[in-house]
Symmetry: C2
Subunit: 337 residues, 2 copies
């Protein structure tokens, strides 16, 4: 049976609270620039109090990726959990309005919709403090078999590895995808998250991941190297494509037979790197779902990442289809989408 | 006694839901481009459903003005009402983080924090549909005498004239300001609002308004003319300064003795006119509070309006102090603020 969806994403359904900060504020709160820290409700509230005026918008890593694929014209679904509150309604609305099939349970009387305080420093780097709230309650029961069966690709967000019920949800999704002959992609999300759950990540990969997304720090944490040829050797026993993103130096696609370097694409001054990795995955997965060769998938990734870093926030603001067409990749955008 | 605050604003405490739309969507929903329509909860929800992904941020006309004055270094207070919900918390946070003294009652079990659906069309015009929720419950009891007494200027948002309890709140604020020798500024907000409440607006003005802000359409609705000399004649019996904003053609300051035309200031491509009038009032009132001559007040207004229209949303994104300094007005920015 042909798949109904190009991609189904499973991730933390989060509303971003985006504010600009000075570097010394990060130091004062003991935050590591560029990292994501999980915080409790009271620490989240205290940190929020210290921030300047903010802008709220839907976020979440895999959610951003799915929003990007939908903006490109891909058919998507999304699985997650929010609270029965205004922020949860905002999250669901933003997805539904993109034509994404939303499987986001709305939890009454829970801990509320997850919030990520995104602190953008003057060098355009983002540092994140996430209060998971109801997003952290995702478990295997939230993963409908029909949705995984209906999607060419199941895309898993590494951040979820911080909760054991979510790990089980991943294992179920992977098993279902395998059983139905579908493919699985995984993003490592964060180096500290990889350090906390390295064995589990490796086990998930060995159980069947077709494409792995990671930046240099994350792949270094997982495999002890970020060098293309060495990554190739480390992954030789696994039949998997690894995609290593390298910020302004582009990305490297590693397969059993090839190491392909692809440059970054720029569309204006760098303002906020939030979402760069997420939108790179959008372009890459959209390419895969449309049968593009790997080098072109990586270029599509570079184009989408290049757009999102020219403005505040991790969701595309321009028409991604127009941006893709402007780089000579219009042939990938089928007219019926 | 010297005032504690430069300005206290009284207005509808609103969270903006900003989305881009095509012109035909406005037509389909019977909305007049550039206007503000009051809608009920279910119409607001229906309209929201039809919109694409949105960004949420604190809004409200007088609230935007106060945020701009605070960003310039002015001391401000704000009076309004929100719901006991996440959107209300966002509104209060964004103000408190600017150092604004917040007198915003938080209403449990009410109708929720007010929402304004801000629809930005490709020509950068904004069309607004506002569900007032708890903001509409503002009444005279919400106006603390000490705050009005403590502020050099009380700034009233015309939109509030759509609720009779809020009209009473305005009359109380005006009376208190008069009694304590403070000054009153009023913005007309919207031509349809002026049409609905013309007699009440004129009565409020006759009872003592020192500065009136209006765009050309609004002043035409109120006085039957937008021409500088004719506005001067119409207002002769009242001892009031009228400030007429004219979009890209700048603004006109009308006093008993002079009609002063001041050009607009531009800082980049026009992206979204939301907040242009609000931020113009920020610069003008900041100038007044700092003893600037009227022409310079108008230039400060042009500078602040010029910044806010270069990005989505009605709150300043750049450092307004730096923007003001870039136009040679640094002398107005006292170092101790």
């Amino acid at each position: 049976m042909a798949p109904i969806f190009d991609v189904v994403g499973i991730g933390n359904a989060i509303v971003d609270v985006v504010a600009t900060v000075h570097e010394d504020a990060l130091r004062k709160h003991g935050l590591v620039k560029g990292s994501m820290t999980l915080v409790g409700e009271s620490d989240s509230a205290k940190l929020y109090e210290s921030l300047g005026p903010a802008v709220e918008r839907s976020g979440g890593s895999a959610a951003n990726t799915v929003a990007g694929i939908a903006a490109l014209g891909g058919k998507c679904a999304y699985i997650g959990r929010v609270g029965a509150d205004a922020l949860g309604d905002i999250f669901r609305h933003d997805f539904a309005s993109l034509g994404v099939e939303v499987h986001v349970a709305r939890e009454a009387g829970g801990q509320g919709t997850a919030r990520c305080l995104v602190m953008v420093s003057p060098d355009a780097q983002r540092t994140m403090a996430t209060y998971l709230g109801d997003a952290g309650h995702l478990g295997p029961d939230d993963v409908p078999e029909a949705v995984i069966k209906g999607a060419a690709w199941t895309y898993l967000e590494g951040y979820l590895f911080d909760r054991s019920a979510a790990k089980d949800a991943f294992r179920r999704a992977q098993m279902l995808a395998r059983n139905h002959g579908r493919r699985v992609a995984l993003t490592l999300s964060d180096a500290f998250c990889v350090r906390r759950h390295k064995a589990d990540f490796l086990q998930l990969i060995r159980s069947g991941v077709d494409v792995l997304f990671a930046n240099e720090v994350e792949v270094q944490e997982l495999l002890g190297t970020a060098d293309g040829a060495q990554v190739q050797r480390a992954l030789e026993p696994m039949d998997m494509v690894a995609v290593v993103t390298r910020s302004e130096r582009g990305s490297t696609v590693v397969t059993r037979n090839a190491v392909i370097d692809v440059p970054a694409e720029t569309f204006g001054p760098l303002l906020d790197t939030t979402g760069a990795g997420d939108l790179y995955a959008s372009g890459f997965l959209f390419g895969l779902a449309n049968g593009a060769p790997l080098r072109e998938c990586a270029t599509l990734g570079s184009v989408c990442a290049g757009e999102v870093i020219t403005h505040l926030g991790a969701r595309p603001e321009s028409s991604l289809r127009a941006v893709v067409a402007s780089r000579g990749l219009a042939s990938r955008l089928s007219p019926d989408r």
